[in-house]
């Protein structure tokens, strides 16, 4: 039901102050949403399918803030023009909620309820484009200016309406704005290094590393994940030379982890896809990795693929590096300038 919010009087300054803060904060959040999309930083947070929604939401919020700003501007103008010279007999009848005791004179607070106010009495005024409805007495209703209707509220209950304004809410709402201005987050989810346990190492050492030729098959992380769950694909790929891209995570010169996250909606649902890469055990004394050079970097790894069964029935993906004089380790672990195709997540 439409109602006239503009019946501000008495301490109406707090109402306008709250409106200004609301407009400013909502506009700031809308701007942040748009800027996240424009700068591409939204890619750290959301999957590609979700990103246009952020842009639309930001534009929507900016539009709302702009329209509300214009409306408040005219409201203030109307208030100043009227000089607030009307007589307010405030029949504060059915507010439909419990007020209780606020401990102070209840001059005016912005009520989120109807006072039984009907539409403005003067259609001519309200039909003017962009003219605020005057906060004047309307049919069957007039307000008292000092509005000293002592409510004698009692503390300890929930008002459920704006009682003046609450600055703490706006401080909290500014948190995402502050984070954006600080440049946070500056990257996507950071993975954890996965170490091999003794059982895994023993299994790998005992595995029959008979190869299936030297043709290199390029696989994505998603394909590797699906392969580890399907027995037919595992049998087909095990022993093949493959090339896979991921983020280097490790501190051991003999083995490291490749990590990539799969998100379907947002970074909060990121699922790590771990693949363990290790130098072929017989060659580990001769060829050593330099973790400092690679850690946190995007790399493409070429090695032979195997799947190690785990206790829970799942399979861990393992890629064995086979360096030689012709193919040094640096060629098998190739650094990339950035995420593949500019997308950090496999979605």
């Amino acid at each position: 039901m439409a109602h006239d919010h503009a019946h501000h009087h008495g301490d109406g300054n707090s109402y306008f102050l709250e409106q200004l803060f609301t407009i400013a904060v909502c506009g700031a959040i809308g701007g942040v949403m748009v800027m996240l999309y424009v700068t591409g930083r939204i890619g750290y947070l959301l999957a590609a399918s979700q990103q246009p929604g952020v842009l639309l939401g930001g534009v929507g919020l900016l539009t709302l803030a702009l329209l509300r700003g214009i409306a408040v501007w005219f409201d203030v103008g109307a208030k100043q023009a009227s000089g607030h010279a009307h007589d307010h007999n405030h029949a504060h009848g059915p507010c439909d909620h419990d007020h209780g005791d606020c401990g102070h004179d209840h001059h005016h607070h912005h009520h989120e309820h109807e006072h039984g106010v009907k539409a403005a009495a003067s259609p001519a005024l309200t039909n003017l484009p962009l003219a605020a409805a005057p906060s004047v007495a309307v049919s069957g209703h007039s307000h008292d200016d000092h509005h000293d209707h002592d409510h004698h509220h009692h503390h300890g209950h929930d008002h459920d309406h704006d009682h003046g304004w609450a600055p703490w809410r706006f401080m909290l709402l500014l948190l995402p704005v502050i984070l954006f201005l600080l440049g946070l987050p500056s990257k996507g989810i950071v993975g954890k290094e996965v170490s091999l346990n003794a059982a895994d190492v023993a299994q790998i050492n005992n595995m029959n590393k008979g190869d299936k030729g030297d043709k290199v098959v390029t696989l994505s992380f998603l394909e590797l994940e699906k392969a580890s769950m399907n027995v037919n694909v595992r049998d087909d790929l095990a022993g093949r030379l493959i090339s896979v891209t991921g983020k280097y995570m490790g501190s051991d010169p003999a083995h490291f982890t490749l990590v990539r996250f799969k998100i379907n909606c947002c970074a909060a649902d990121a699922i790590p896809l771990n693949a363990v890469i290790m130098v072929n055990p017989p060659d580990q004394k001769k060829y050593k990795l330099d973790p400092a050079q690679y850690n946190g970097q995007w790399v493409t790894v070429t090695g032979r693929l195997f799947f190690v069964p785990q206790q829970n029935g799942e399979y861990r993906t393992v890629v064995i590096l086979e360096p030689s004089e012709e193919k040094p380790l640096s060629g098998l672990v190739d650094k990339l300038p950035g995420p593949p195709a500019g997308n950090e997540y496999a979605s």
Partner: protein, 449 residues
């Protein structure tokens, strides 16, 4: 552990927080705008406007007819033109729906009157409302606040809040997509495929929401509007015909002003608690590893169900993506994943915080207790039946289900009794309390015409 690990965890915290927040924000904006529109329109026009907006959203965003024609090669258009044409078609469809419903206003009024007299049917249909008005759980809250003020019964609103995020075209499709490839994994036999998981999630979600709606209906008869925050309480009845006359004299600018004020107010009100919930969820996600959850749950189905339910509350995921997270727990039993998928859209940190803006503690406690209890029981029953741990004759199954229904009824009664003991009873309606206030205190400062 060196400092980089701590820095990485802080980084992950901010990333998780921002991703939860900005994934939900567009839906909160949409819900706030719809709330503003609902607040502004006369009550009689609400069905026509809401269904028209819903048709606009579904056609423009989900169906996207022109995009589908282009994808099939039946049309060739510039991408910008495709988007524009989609929304032109959506507006046309919405306009058609609106015109039809306005033309059939008497029939709509009759239908609403019929439903108003049949509360249980209304609750049942409210459980299916998400199929017609698809909204994420974050957008449903601001919209439902205004529907409550417009006179939609509390029980219907609660049912819609709980079932809407699950019985939603997008959510059902993503649930199917997440589980479809896992039909035949020999390492994890007897998993639910996409169709089964879709059906079970939709069915159990609806059942939980419907039962909670029935419970809330009984509570409403006893406690009235004191179950709600004061802001949610509808004003007294008014002459609707007179309202329509008055409404027609309000300028379009005034309407826009009112809509924007309501929308921004609701956005601020909800977003504050969304931010608090997102902070809690991000901290929990950094502290708790999903693989640890899976490790604790292996081989213990009852514990797995409870752990996954807790995980669902903690991770605070959108219902459109939680299916993929559940599916990633490869070897976990289907019932545990089902518990995660049913409870998550109904109860998580951000929702709990947002519920505090609508419901008083008594109703919140009732909803939370009923939802958690039902999800656990249904999930465990699903586990027993799906894993075929019970070898019963047909009459055995009949007795089994009868015993289950009886147990549910007893537990719901016990919950109600417990809440009466724990929470103080407030049967006096706030409106009555206010009138009592006004009578007791100085009418001398209140001048009446």
């Amino acid at each position: 552990m060196d400092n980089t690990v701590y820095l990485d965890q802080v980084q992950n915290f901010f990333t998780n927080f921002s991703s939860i927040l900005f994934e939900a924000m567009p839906w909160v904006v949409l819900g706030a705008v719809l709330a503003g529109i609902v607040q502004e329109i006369p009550q009689r026009r609400a069905p026509a406007v809401m269904l028209a907006l819903s048709a606009l959203l579904i056609t423009g965003y989900f169906v996207s007819p022109v995009t589908r024609l282009v994808d099939r090669g039946l049309l060739s258009l510039h991408p910008v033109a495709v988007i524009a044409c989609n929304w032109v078609v959506a507006v046309a469809v919405a306009g058609g729906v609106f015109a039809v419903l306005i033309a059939c206003q008497p029939a709509v009024d009759q239908l609403l009157g019929y439903l108003g007299r049949r509360r249980y049917l209304s609750i049942f249909l409210s459980g299916l409302l998400g199929l017609v008005i698809p909204m994420c759980e974050c957008g449903i809250i601001p919209l439902t606040r205004r529907l409550l003020r417009k006179g939609l019964p509390i029980s219907c609103c609660v049912t819609y809040i709980l079932s809407g995020p699950i019985l939603n075209v997008v959510v059902l499709m993503t649930t199917y997509a997440a589980f479809a490839p896992r039909a035949a994994d020999p390492n994890s036999p007897n998993q639910m495929n996409g169709l089964w998981m879709l059906g079970m999630r939709a069915g159990l979600g609806f059942l939980v929401a419907f039962v909670v709606g029935l419970v809330v209906e009984q509570m409403q008869k006893r406690y009235g509007v004191s179950l709600l925050k004061g802001l949610m309480i509808r004003k007294g009845d008014e002459d609707e015909d007179k309202d329509l006359e008055v409404e027609s004299r309000i300028s379009w600018w005034k309407r826009v002003s009112n809509i924007t004020e309501t929308a921004l107010h609701d956005f601020v009100d909800i977003s504050v608690f969304l931010i608090i919930g997102a902070l809690i969820a991000a901290a929990a996600k950094v502290a708790i590893d999903a693989k640890t959850i899976a490790a604790y749950s292996e081989g213990k189905p009852t514990l797995a169900i409870a752990i996954m339910m807790t995980f669902a509350v903690i991770v605070t995921l959108c219902s459109e993506a939680d299916a993929f997270v559940a599916a990633s727990f490869g070897t976990l039993r289907p019932a545990a994943k089902l518990a995660f998928l049913v409870l998550g859209p109904m109860l998580d940190f951000k929702l709990i915080m947002m519920y505090t803006r609508i419901f008083r503690p008594r109703l919140m406690a009732t909803i939370i207790t009923c939802v958690v209890f039902q999800v656990f029981v249904y999930s465990y029953v699903t586990h027993v039946i799906w894993e075929r741990q019970l070898a019963l004759e047909w009459w055995g199954w009949v007795l089994f289900w009868a015993a289950l229904v009886g147990l549910l009824a007893v537990m719901i009664v016990l919950i109600q009794l417990l809440l009466r003991v724990v929470l103080p009873e407030k049967t006096e309606e706030p409106a009555a309390s206010h009138r009592k206030h006004a009578d007791e205190h100085a009418p001398s400062t209140v001048k009446l015409n």
